[in-house]
Protein backbone atom coordinates (compact mmCIF):
# COMPACT_ATOMS: atom_id res chain seq x y z
CA UNK A 1 0.00 0.00 0.00
CA UNK A 2 2.92 2.36 0.75
CA UNK A 3 3.94 2.19 -2.87
CA UNK A 4 0.52 2.79 -4.50
CA UNK A 5 0.58 6.61 -4.31
CA UNK A 6 4.25 6.52 -5.29
CA UNK A 7 3.35 4.45 -8.36
CA UNK A 8 0.54 6.85 -9.31
CA UNK A 9 2.78 9.88 -8.94
CA UNK A 10 5.55 8.20 -10.93
CA UNK A 11 3.05 7.51 -13.74
CA UNK A 12 1.75 11.09 -13.78
CA UNK A 13 5.30 12.50 -13.68
CA UNK A 14 6.41 10.29 -16.54
CA UNK A 15 3.38 11.20 -18.67
CA UNK A 16 3.77 14.94 -18.05
CA UNK A 17 7.49 14.85 -18.80
CA UNK A 18 6.86 12.88 -22.01
CA UNK A 19 4.27 15.48 -23.09
CA UNK A 20 6.56 18.37 -22.18
CA UNK A 21 9.35 16.79 -24.21
CA UNK A 22 7.10 16.93 -27.29
CA UNK A 23 6.16 20.59 -26.88
CA UNK A 24 8.60 22.86 -28.77
CA UNK A 25 7.74 25.80 -26.46
CA UNK A 26 8.26 23.86 -23.20
CA UNK A 27 12.08 24.23 -22.83
CA UNK A 28 11.85 28.04 -22.72
CA UNK A 29 9.01 27.91 -20.18
CA UNK A 30 10.81 25.29 -18.09
CA UNK A 31 14.01 27.33 -18.12
CA UNK A 32 12.11 30.18 -16.42
CA UNK A 33 10.67 27.80 -13.81
CA UNK A 34 13.77 25.65 -13.33
CA UNK A 35 14.98 25.34 -9.74
CA UNK A 36 11.64 26.44 -8.24
CA UNK A 37 9.63 24.30 -5.84
CA UNK A 38 5.86 24.58 -5.49
CA UNK A 39 3.88 22.88 -2.72
CA UNK A 40 0.30 22.05 -3.65
CA UNK A 41 -1.83 21.34 -0.57
CA UNK A 42 -5.31 20.00 -1.22
CA UNK A 43 -7.82 20.35 1.63
CA UNK A 44 -10.39 17.80 0.39
CA UNK A 45 -9.12 15.15 -0.22
CA UNK A 46 -6.19 15.84 2.12
CA UNK A 47 -3.13 15.58 -0.07
CA UNK A 48 0.20 17.37 -0.41
CA UNK A 49 2.25 17.38 -3.55
CA UNK A 50 5.66 18.94 -4.16
CA UNK A 51 6.53 20.01 -7.70
CA UNK A 52 10.23 20.55 -8.46
CA UNK A 53 10.96 22.11 -11.82
CA UNK A 54 14.14 21.32 -13.73
CA UNK A 55 15.24 22.08 -17.31
CA UNK A 56 14.04 18.69 -18.61
CA UNK A 57 10.63 18.69 -16.92
CA UNK A 58 9.29 18.33 -13.42
CA UNK A 59 9.54 15.97 -10.46
CA UNK A 60 6.42 15.16 -8.44
CA UNK A 61 7.05 14.06 -4.87
CA UNK A 62 5.06 13.58 -1.70
CA UNK A 63 6.62 15.95 0.83
CA UNK A 64 7.34 14.27 4.16
CA UNK A 65 7.92 16.74 6.98
CA UNK A 66 8.95 19.69 4.86
CA UNK A 67 7.96 23.05 6.23
CA UNK A 68 6.47 25.72 4.00
CA UNK A 69 9.69 27.75 3.95
CA UNK A 70 11.36 25.01 1.86
CA UNK A 71 9.14 26.02 -1.07
CA UNK A 72 9.03 29.05 -3.33
CA UNK A 73 5.23 28.99 -3.41
CA UNK A 74 2.65 27.23 -1.26
CA UNK A 75 -0.79 26.79 -2.83
CA UNK A 76 -3.77 25.72 -0.73
CA UNK A 77 -7.06 24.76 -2.38
CA UNK A 78 -9.66 22.02 -2.63
CA UNK A 79 -10.33 19.58 -5.46
CA UNK A 80 -13.19 21.69 -6.84
CA UNK A 81 -11.00 24.79 -7.03
CA UNK A 82 -8.24 22.75 -8.66
CA UNK A 83 -10.75 21.80 -11.36
CA UNK A 84 -11.68 25.47 -11.85
CA UNK A 85 -8.01 26.41 -11.96
CA UNK A 86 -7.32 23.86 -14.66
CA UNK A 87 -10.48 25.02 -16.43
CA UNK A 88 -8.73 28.38 -17.00
CA UNK A 89 -10.61 30.27 -14.25
CA UNK A 90 -8.89 33.52 -13.22
CA UNK A 91 -6.44 33.01 -10.34
CA UNK A 92 -7.21 36.49 -8.97
CA UNK A 93 -10.96 35.79 -8.93
CA UNK A 94 -10.45 32.48 -7.08
CA UNK A 95 -8.21 34.24 -4.56
CA UNK A 96 -10.75 37.02 -3.99
CA UNK A 97 -13.50 34.44 -3.54
CA UNK A 98 -11.37 32.86 -0.79
CA UNK A 99 -11.19 29.52 -2.58
CA UNK A 100 -7.46 29.70 -3.25
CA UNK A 101 -4.59 30.71 -1.01
CA UNK A 102 -1.10 31.32 -2.39
CA UNK A 103 1.92 32.20 -0.27
CA UNK A 104 5.29 33.06 -1.78
CA UNK A 105 5.72 33.79 -5.46
CA UNK A 106 2.19 33.93 -6.89
CA UNK A 107 3.48 34.10 -10.47
CA UNK A 108 4.81 30.52 -10.11
CA UNK A 109 1.25 29.18 -9.93
CA UNK A 110 0.31 31.06 -13.09
CA UNK A 111 3.48 29.89 -14.88
CA UNK A 112 2.82 26.28 -13.81
CA UNK A 113 -0.74 26.42 -15.10
CA UNK A 114 0.37 27.98 -18.39
CA UNK A 115 3.03 25.29 -18.78
CA UNK A 116 0.45 22.51 -18.47
CA UNK A 117 -2.54 24.11 -20.21
CA UNK A 118 -0.67 25.58 -23.16
CA UNK A 119 0.95 22.29 -24.11
CA UNK A 120 1.21 22.33 -27.88
CA UNK A 121 2.24 18.87 -28.92
CA UNK A 122 4.02 18.49 -32.23
CA UNK A 123 2.37 15.18 -33.12
CA UNK A 124 3.12 15.56 -36.80
CA UNK A 125 6.85 15.97 -36.07
CA UNK A 126 6.80 12.90 -33.83
CA UNK A 127 4.95 10.87 -36.50
CA UNK A 128 7.48 12.03 -39.12
CA UNK A 129 10.28 10.51 -37.03
CA UNK A 130 8.65 7.11 -37.38
CA UNK A 131 6.93 7.24 -40.78
CA UNK A 132 8.85 9.87 -42.76
CA UNK A 133 7.80 13.43 -43.69
CA UNK A 134 5.36 12.76 -46.56
CA UNK A 135 3.34 9.87 -45.02
CA UNK A 136 3.26 11.68 -41.66
CA UNK A 137 1.95 14.88 -43.32
CA UNK A 138 -0.70 12.93 -45.28
CA UNK A 139 -1.80 11.10 -42.15
CA UNK A 140 -1.88 14.29 -40.08
CA UNK A 141 -3.79 16.14 -42.83
CA UNK A 142 -6.27 13.24 -43.00
CA UNK A 143 -6.75 13.33 -39.22
CA UNK A 144 -7.23 17.11 -39.26
CA UNK A 145 -9.82 16.78 -42.06
CA UNK A 146 -11.59 13.98 -40.15
CA UNK A 147 -11.62 16.14 -36.99
CA UNK A 148 -13.05 19.14 -38.89
CA UNK A 149 -15.73 16.93 -40.47
CA UNK A 150 -16.51 15.38 -37.07
CA UNK A 151 -16.98 18.82 -35.45
CA UNK A 152 -19.15 20.09 -38.31
CA UNK A 153 -21.26 16.91 -38.36
CA UNK A 154 -21.69 17.09 -34.57
CA UNK A 155 -22.84 20.74 -34.74
CA UNK A 156 -25.25 20.06 -37.61
CA UNK A 157 -26.70 17.00 -35.89
CA UNK A 158 -27.34 18.97 -32.68
CA UNK A 159 -29.10 21.73 -34.58
CA UNK A 160 -31.20 19.26 -36.63
CA UNK A 161 -32.30 17.34 -33.54
CA UNK A 162 -33.19 20.58 -31.72
CA UNK A 163 -35.21 21.81 -34.70
CA UNK A 164 -37.14 18.53 -34.93
CA UNK A 165 -37.82 18.19 -31.18
CA UNK A 166 -38.77 21.83 -30.49
CA UNK A 167 -40.17 23.13 -33.79
CA UNK A 168 -41.47 20.29 -35.97
CA UNK A 169 -42.65 17.54 -33.60
CA UNK A 170 -43.10 19.95 -30.66
CA UNK A 171 -42.11 17.15 -28.26
CA UNK A 172 -40.55 19.61 -25.80
CA UNK A 173 -41.09 23.31 -25.14
CA UNK A 174 -38.45 25.71 -26.48
CA UNK A 175 -36.38 28.01 -24.28
CA UNK A 176 -38.69 31.05 -24.76
CA UNK A 177 -41.81 28.97 -24.13
CA UNK A 178 -40.25 27.61 -20.95
CA UNK A 179 -39.46 31.13 -19.70
CA UNK A 180 -43.01 32.25 -20.50
CA UNK A 181 -44.41 29.26 -18.62
CA UNK A 182 -42.15 29.98 -15.64
CA UNK A 183 -43.37 33.62 -15.53
CA UNK A 184 -47.01 32.50 -15.61
CA UNK A 185 -46.38 29.94 -12.87
CA UNK A 186 -44.67 32.56 -10.70
CA UNK A 187 -47.64 34.93 -11.18
CA UNK A 188 -50.09 32.11 -10.33
CA UNK A 189 -48.10 31.29 -7.20
CA UNK A 190 -48.16 34.92 -6.03
CA UNK A 191 -51.91 35.24 -6.75
CA UNK A 192 -52.62 32.01 -4.86
CA UNK A 193 -50.60 33.29 -1.89
CA UNK A 194 -52.54 36.55 -1.87
CA UNK A 195 -55.89 34.69 -2.08
CA UNK A 196 -54.84 32.41 0.77
CA UNK A 197 -53.94 35.43 2.92
CA UNK A 198 -57.30 37.10 2.14
CA UNK A 199 -59.22 33.92 3.04
CA UNK A 200 -57.32 33.65 6.31
CA UNK A 201 -58.20 37.26 7.14
CA UNK A 202 -61.91 36.63 6.35
CA UNK A 203 -61.87 33.48 8.51
CA UNK A 204 -60.44 35.42 11.45
CA UNK A 205 -63.07 38.17 10.92
CA UNK A 206 -65.94 35.63 10.88
CA UNK A 207 -64.61 33.96 14.05
CA UNK A 208 -64.49 37.35 15.81
CA UNK A 209 -68.11 38.18 14.78
CA UNK A 210 -69.42 34.73 15.76
CA UNK A 211 -67.84 34.71 19.18
CA UNK A 212 -70.14 35.86 22.10
CA UNK A 213 -69.18 39.20 23.59
Amino acid sequence: MTLTPTLLLAGIERTLNALLARDPAAPARLARLSGNRVLLRLARPELSLAIHFHPAGLDLLRPQEDTDDAFDAVVELNAETLGELLGDESIERLMFQGKLSVRGHVHLLEATRDLLLDLDLDWEGELARWLGDVPAHSLAEGLRRATRWGRRAHGEMRSDIAEYVFEEAKLLPGKHQLENLRDHLTELEMTTDRLEARLARLRRQLQREASPR
Partner: protein
Protein backbone atom coordinates in the same frame (compact mmCIF):
# COMPACT_ATOMS: atom_id res chain seq x y z
CA UNK B 1 25.48 -18.02 11.81
CA UNK B 2 24.88 -14.37 12.46
CA UNK B 3 26.52 -11.97 10.06
CA UNK B 4 27.33 -9.77 13.03
CA UNK B 5 29.12 -12.09 15.36
CA UNK B 6 30.37 -15.10 13.57
CA UNK B 7 33.08 -17.18 15.19
CA UNK B 8 36.41 -16.12 13.85
CA UNK B 9 34.92 -12.77 12.94
CA UNK B 10 38.37 -11.23 12.77
CA UNK B 11 39.54 -13.48 9.97
CA UNK B 12 36.60 -14.57 7.85
CA UNK B 13 33.32 -13.14 6.69
CA UNK B 14 30.51 -14.31 4.48
CA UNK B 15 30.41 -13.92 0.74
CA UNK B 16 26.92 -15.12 -0.02
CA UNK B 17 26.80 -18.54 1.69
CA UNK B 18 30.57 -19.01 1.51
CA UNK B 19 33.07 -18.11 4.23
CA UNK B 20 35.94 -16.11 2.80
CA UNK B 21 38.90 -14.27 4.36
CA UNK B 22 37.94 -10.70 5.35
CA UNK B 23 40.59 -9.24 3.06
CA UNK B 24 39.15 -11.14 0.11
CA UNK B 25 35.49 -10.10 0.32
CA UNK B 26 35.91 -6.61 -1.15
CA UNK B 27 37.76 -7.92 -4.20
CA UNK B 28 35.22 -10.71 -4.74
CA UNK B 29 32.31 -8.26 -4.48
CA UNK B 30 34.21 -6.01 -6.88
CA UNK B 31 34.48 -8.89 -9.36
CA UNK B 32 30.71 -9.42 -9.18
CA UNK B 33 30.00 -5.78 -9.97
CA UNK B 34 32.68 -5.53 -12.69
CA UNK B 35 30.83 -8.41 -14.31
CA UNK B 36 27.31 -6.95 -14.13
CA UNK B 37 28.00 -3.18 -14.42
CA UNK B 38 27.14 -2.84 -18.11
CA UNK B 39 23.74 -4.53 -17.72
CA UNK B 40 23.02 -3.48 -14.16
CA UNK B 41 20.01 -1.25 -14.94
CA UNK B 42 18.40 -3.78 -17.31
CA UNK B 43 18.84 -6.57 -14.78
CA UNK B 44 17.44 -4.44 -11.94
CA UNK B 45 14.33 -3.70 -14.00
CA UNK B 46 13.92 -7.34 -14.95
CA UNK B 47 14.56 -8.77 -11.50
CA UNK B 48 12.31 -6.38 -9.61
CA UNK B 49 9.75 -5.91 -12.40
CA UNK B 50 10.67 -2.21 -12.28
CA UNK B 51 9.65 -1.84 -8.61
CA UNK B 52 13.19 -0.83 -7.61
CA UNK B 53 12.40 2.56 -9.16
CA UNK B 54 9.49 3.01 -6.73
CA UNK B 55 11.63 1.93 -3.75
CA UNK B 56 14.20 4.54 -4.78
CA UNK B 57 11.49 7.20 -5.27
CA UNK B 58 10.28 6.61 -1.74
CA UNK B 59 13.86 6.97 -0.48
CA UNK B 60 14.07 10.34 -2.22
CA UNK B 61 10.75 11.44 -0.72
CA UNK B 62 11.93 10.48 2.78
CA UNK B 63 15.30 12.17 2.34
CA UNK B 64 13.98 15.70 2.97
CA UNK B 65 16.68 17.05 0.64
CA UNK B 66 16.31 20.73 -0.22
CA UNK B 67 18.05 23.23 -2.50
CA UNK B 68 21.55 23.98 -1.23
CA UNK B 69 21.98 20.66 0.61
CA UNK B 70 25.03 18.39 0.40
CA UNK B 71 24.17 14.76 -0.33
CA UNK B 72 26.32 11.65 -0.37
CA UNK B 73 25.00 8.71 -2.39
CA UNK B 74 27.12 5.73 -1.32
CA UNK B 75 27.23 2.65 -3.53
CA UNK B 76 25.37 4.91 -5.94
CA UNK B 77 25.95 2.47 -8.75
CA UNK B 78 24.39 3.73 -11.93
CA UNK B 79 23.28 7.00 -10.38
CA UNK B 80 19.49 6.63 -10.08
CA UNK B 81 19.34 8.51 -6.77
CA UNK B 82 22.07 10.99 -7.69
CA UNK B 83 20.14 12.05 -10.81
CA UNK B 84 17.14 13.15 -8.73
CA UNK B 85 19.22 14.57 -5.89
CA UNK B 86 21.25 16.75 -8.26
CA UNK B 87 18.02 18.39 -9.44
CA UNK B 88 16.69 18.78 -5.92
CA UNK B 89 19.79 20.44 -4.43
CA UNK B 90 20.11 22.81 -7.40
CA UNK B 91 23.22 24.77 -8.34
CA UNK B 92 23.86 25.89 -4.74
CA UNK B 93 24.00 22.34 -3.41
CA UNK B 94 26.14 19.39 -4.35
CA UNK B 95 25.90 15.62 -4.59
CA UNK B 96 28.72 13.11 -4.27
CA UNK B 97 28.25 9.80 -6.04
CA UNK B 98 30.52 7.31 -4.30
CA UNK B 99 31.09 3.68 -5.16
CA UNK B 100 33.89 1.30 -4.34
CA UNK B 101 33.65 -0.19 -7.79
CA UNK B 102 35.30 1.64 -10.67
CA UNK B 103 33.15 -0.01 -13.35
CA UNK B 104 29.90 0.94 -11.66
CA UNK B 105 31.14 4.48 -11.08
CA UNK B 106 32.07 4.83 -14.75
CA UNK B 107 28.66 3.55 -15.90
CA UNK B 108 26.95 5.93 -13.44
CA UNK B 109 29.01 8.91 -14.56
CA UNK B 110 28.28 8.25 -18.25
CA UNK B 111 24.58 7.87 -17.55
CA UNK B 112 24.42 11.11 -15.57
CA UNK B 113 26.35 13.01 -18.22
CA UNK B 114 23.95 11.67 -20.86
CA UNK B 115 21.10 13.03 -18.74
CA UNK B 116 22.67 16.49 -18.64
CA UNK B 117 23.83 16.27 -15.02
CA UNK B 118 27.20 17.85 -14.46
CA UNK B 119 27.88 20.98 -12.43
CA UNK B 120 26.86 19.90 -8.94
CA UNK B 121 27.88 16.22 -8.94
CA UNK B 122 31.26 14.77 -7.94
CA UNK B 123 32.36 11.17 -8.43
CA UNK B 124 34.44 9.51 -5.76
CA UNK B 125 35.72 5.95 -5.61
CA UNK B 126 35.48 5.24 -1.91
CA UNK B 127 35.07 2.45 0.59
CA UNK B 128 32.01 2.99 2.81
CA UNK B 129 33.95 1.72 5.84
CA UNK B 130 36.35 4.67 5.75
CA UNK B 131 34.71 7.52 3.89
CA UNK B 132 37.26 10.13 2.73
CA UNK B 133 35.25 13.14 3.90
CA UNK B 134 35.64 15.46 6.89
CA UNK B 135 33.30 15.16 9.89
CA UNK B 136 29.87 16.83 9.65
CA UNK B 137 29.93 17.33 5.86
CA UNK B 138 26.61 16.07 4.50
CA UNK B 139 22.95 16.90 5.13
CA UNK B 140 21.88 13.51 3.86
CA UNK B 141 23.63 10.20 3.18
CA UNK B 142 21.97 7.37 1.30
CA UNK B 143 23.08 3.85 0.57
CA UNK B 144 20.73 1.87 -1.68
CA UNK B 145 21.32 -1.85 -2.13
CA UNK B 146 24.96 -1.44 -1.11
CA UNK B 147 25.26 -2.11 2.63
CA UNK B 148 24.98 -5.88 2.32
CA UNK B 149 28.10 -5.92 0.13
CA UNK B 150 30.17 -4.04 2.70
CA UNK B 151 32.55 -6.29 4.68
CA UNK B 152 32.26 -4.43 8.00
CA UNK B 153 28.76 -2.95 8.11
CA UNK B 154 29.16 -1.48 11.60
CA UNK B 155 32.25 0.47 10.51
CA UNK B 156 30.42 1.72 7.44
CA UNK B 157 27.48 2.96 9.55
CA UNK B 158 29.89 4.68 11.98
CA UNK B 159 31.73 6.28 9.08
CA UNK B 160 28.46 7.58 7.63
CA UNK B 161 27.38 8.98 10.99
CA UNK B 162 30.73 10.77 11.32
CA UNK B 163 30.42 12.39 7.88
CA UNK B 164 26.82 13.46 8.56
CA UNK B 165 26.03 16.98 9.81
CA UNK B 166 24.10 17.20 13.10
CA UNK B 167 20.42 17.13 12.13
CA UNK B 168 21.24 15.24 8.95
CA UNK B 169 19.78 11.86 8.07
CA UNK B 170 21.06 8.51 6.87
CA UNK B 171 18.80 6.39 4.67
CA UNK B 172 19.54 2.73 4.10
CA UNK B 173 17.51 1.02 1.37
CA UNK B 174 18.28 -2.67 1.39
CA UNK B 175 16.79 -6.09 0.85
CA UNK B 176 15.39 -7.47 4.07
CA UNK B 177 13.23 -10.26 5.46
CA UNK B 178 9.68 -10.71 4.06
CA UNK B 179 7.11 -10.52 6.84
CA UNK B 180 4.66 -13.01 5.33
CA UNK B 181 5.79 -16.71 5.35
CA UNK B 182 3.98 -17.42 2.08
CA UNK B 183 5.63 -14.49 0.37
CA UNK B 184 8.95 -15.61 1.86
CA UNK B 185 8.55 -19.06 0.31
CA UNK B 186 7.67 -17.66 -3.13
CA UNK B 187 10.53 -15.18 -2.86
CA UNK B 188 13.01 -17.98 -2.07
CA UNK B 189 11.87 -19.97 -5.09
CA UNK B 190 12.19 -16.90 -7.26
CA UNK B 191 15.64 -15.86 -6.00
CA UNK B 192 17.33 -19.26 -5.98
CA UNK B 193 15.79 -20.81 -9.08
CA UNK B 194 14.70 -18.06 -11.46
CA UNK B 195 17.14 -15.25 -10.68
CA UNK B 196 20.40 -17.08 -11.60
CA UNK B 197 18.78 -18.20 -14.89
CA UNK B 198 17.75 -14.64 -15.69
CA UNK B 199 21.29 -13.50 -14.84
CA UNK B 200 22.68 -16.10 -17.22
CA UNK B 201 20.35 -15.10 -20.04
CA UNK B 202 20.62 -11.31 -19.77
CA UNK B 203 24.04 -10.62 -18.26
CA UNK B 204 25.69 -13.97 -19.15
CA UNK B 205 26.59 -14.47 -15.50
CA UNK B 206 24.58 -16.80 -13.24
CA UNK B 207 27.09 -16.82 -10.37
CA UNK B 208 26.84 -13.10 -9.69
CA UNK B 209 23.09 -13.33 -9.37
CA UNK B 210 23.35 -16.42 -7.18
CA UNK B 211 25.64 -14.35 -4.96
CA UNK B 212 22.99 -11.60 -4.96
CA UNK B 213 20.31 -14.00 -3.66
CA UNK B 214 22.66 -15.47 -1.04
CA UNK B 215 23.96 -12.10 0.14
CA UNK B 216 20.36 -10.94 0.67
CA UNK B 217 19.71 -13.92 2.98
CA UNK B 218 22.88 -13.18 4.96
CA UNK B 219 21.99 -9.50 5.45
CA UNK B 220 20.68 -8.44 8.89
CA UNK B 221 16.90 -8.31 9.23
CA UNK B 222 14.93 -5.13 9.90
CA UNK B 223 15.31 -5.05 13.70
CA UNK B 224 19.01 -6.02 13.66
CA UNK B 225 19.85 -3.28 11.18
CA UNK B 226 17.87 -0.80 13.28
CA UNK B 227 19.97 -1.77 16.31
CA UNK B 228 23.17 -1.48 14.30
CA UNK B 229 22.25 2.04 13.19
CA UNK B 230 21.49 3.03 16.76
CA UNK B 231 24.82 1.52 17.88
CA UNK B 232 26.56 3.65 15.22
CA UNK B 233 25.25 6.79 16.94
CA UNK B 234 22.11 7.50 14.92
CA UNK B 235 18.90 8.39 16.73
CA UNK B 236 15.17 8.14 16.03
CA UNK B 237 15.93 5.17 13.80
CA UNK B 238 12.82 3.83 12.10
CA UNK B 239 12.14 1.56 9.17
CA UNK B 240 9.42 1.02 6.59
CA UNK B 241 8.82 -2.38 5.02
CA UNK B 242 8.31 -2.19 1.27
CA UNK B 243 6.70 -4.89 -0.86
CA UNK B 244 5.97 -7.07 2.15
CA UNK B 245 9.43 -6.64 3.70
CA UNK B 246 11.39 -7.83 0.66
CA UNK B 247 13.00 -4.43 0.97
CA UNK B 248 13.17 -2.13 3.99
CA UNK B 249 13.97 1.55 4.15
CA UNK B 250 15.73 2.51 7.39
CA UNK B 251 16.16 6.12 8.39
CA UNK B 252 18.20 7.54 11.24
CA UNK B 253 19.05 11.08 12.34
CA UNK B 254 22.27 12.41 13.84
CA UNK B 255 21.40 14.72 16.72
Amino acid sequence: MSPLSSPGDKHTTHFGYQEVPVDEKASRVADVFHSVAARYDVMNDLMSFGIHRLWKRLTIERSGVRPGHSVLDIAGGTGDLTLKFSRMVGPRGHVVLADINESMLRVGRDKLLDNGVGGNVEYVQANAECLPFPDNTFDCITIAFGLRNVTDKASALRSMTRALKPGGRVLVLEFSKPVNPLLSKAYDEYSFRLLPRMGQMVAGDADSYRYLAESIRMHPDQETLQEMMEAAGLERVEYTNLTGGIVALHRGIKL
